[in-house]
């Protein structure tokens, strides 16, 4: 793996949490296929899901020597071995819930990939995709927050519900040389700016559940994740080595 100009290498397993974030969110977005509110939006969400899947594959491919093939990494690990943050594993909920989750995550992934670009080739490539995901989420947050009373209520409710999963994003990941506090300040300012323009209130509640600080990165996940994983992995586990 290449090294940072300043000489800080990206640690051997440090990219696993990034790959797991991308894979898990990709799967959640894929669950909208056939259910999105309009056809155009279904295509947009599927596009974002495929971007993320591509990122996950590239990151897993770089871990082949340590963890095995892409399929093994995605389909044959147990829940406790996944290092994704808990935000991305949260169920889709309604469309507003999905959009707020997208905003929170893309506003995190964009500056993170930007910082990692010099040391991680995938990040340099993916940063433009992520900028589009961030823009998509912003456009919808503005329209839902500042739309009807119904859309505003649902979007605010989603923000309040997901807020406690946002603190974990800035728990340092071992092996990634990133100024996490700076990243957090940037994220907070960005989200606050979008919320202000959308007429939404930034929640004042804690950014961690009492039990959940940094938990996803340690392999501790919320209850819906097990069911998601069962669905995602069952085909590969039922037919090991099957190809098509």
């Amino acid at each position: 793996m290449s090294t940072h100009p300043a000489g800080h290498p990206v640690g051997a397993l440090a990219t696993l949490p990034l790959g797991d974030d991308a894979l898990v969110l990709s799967h959640r977005l894929g669950e909208w296929a056939g259910h999105a509110p309009v056809l155009e939006e279904e295509v947009a969400l599927a596009n974002i899901a495929l971007d993320l899947l591509g990122q996950a594959r590239a990151l897993y491919a770089g871990l082949a020597d340590v963890l095995g093939s892409e399929d093994e990494i995605a389909y044959l690990r147990e829940e406790r071995e996944f290092r994704n943050c808990q935000l991305v594993e949260q169920p889709n909920g309604d469309f507003a819930h999905t959009i707020v989750r997208q905003l929170f995550f893309s506003a995190y992934q964009l500056p993170l990939y930007d910082r990692l670009s010099p040391s991680l080739p995938l990040a340099a490539k993916a940063v433009r995709e992520t900028a589009y995901h961030r823009d998509h989420a912003e456009q919808w947050t503005l329209r839902l927050g500042d739309g009807t009373e119904e859309s505003h209520t649902r979007t605010q409710r989603a923000a309040d519900a997901l807020w406690r999963f946002t603190g974990e994003l800035f728990q340092p990941v071992e092996g990634l040389d990133v100024p996490w506090q700076e990243l957090e300040a940037e994220w907070t300012a960005d989200v606050r700016d979008v919320f202000d323009r959308a007429g939404l209130t930034v929640p004042e509640t804690p950014r961690h559940g009492a039990w959940s600080a940094g938990a996803g990165r340690q392999g501790l996940h919320t209850e819906p994740f097990g069911r998601m994983l069962a669905e995602m992995q069952h085909l590969h586990r039922s037919h090991p080595g099957a190809t098509w």
């Binding site: 939006e41 295509v43 596009n47």
Partner: protein
């Protein structure tokens, strides 16, 4: 939801120097979202370098009923086509 959304016609310029070509249509709540939907629907395989979206309601089209008076008078005037002279050998790019 999309039943309430207006229809937009999408025009894609595939390369610099070419003109925008009609690619299809889509529903969107406003122009900015129409542009983004057009990007996802029509240019995700590098089909374009520029996009236009136009509200379908703003397009004035010729009517099929007027086809004859509109277009027929040109049919029997073959001298309007530039085919009555010989192209000298060696002329390229004509």
């Amino acid at each position: 939801m999309s039943a309430d959304w207006p229809l937009w016609e999408v025009f894609v310029r595939s390369r610099r120097g070419l003109s925008h070509t009609h690619a299809g249509s889509l529903h969107a709540p406003d122009a900015q979202m129409a542009l983004r939907n057009a990007r996802d629907l029509f240019t995700r395989r590098s089909e374009g370098v520029s996009l236009w979206v136009v509200p379908a309601a703003e397009i004035t089209a010729s009517s099929p009923d007027e086809k004859d008076p509109f277009f027929a008078p040109a049919a029997d005037k073959p001298y309007r086509h530039p085919t009555f002279y010989e192209v000298p050998e060696g002329v390229r790019n004509l």
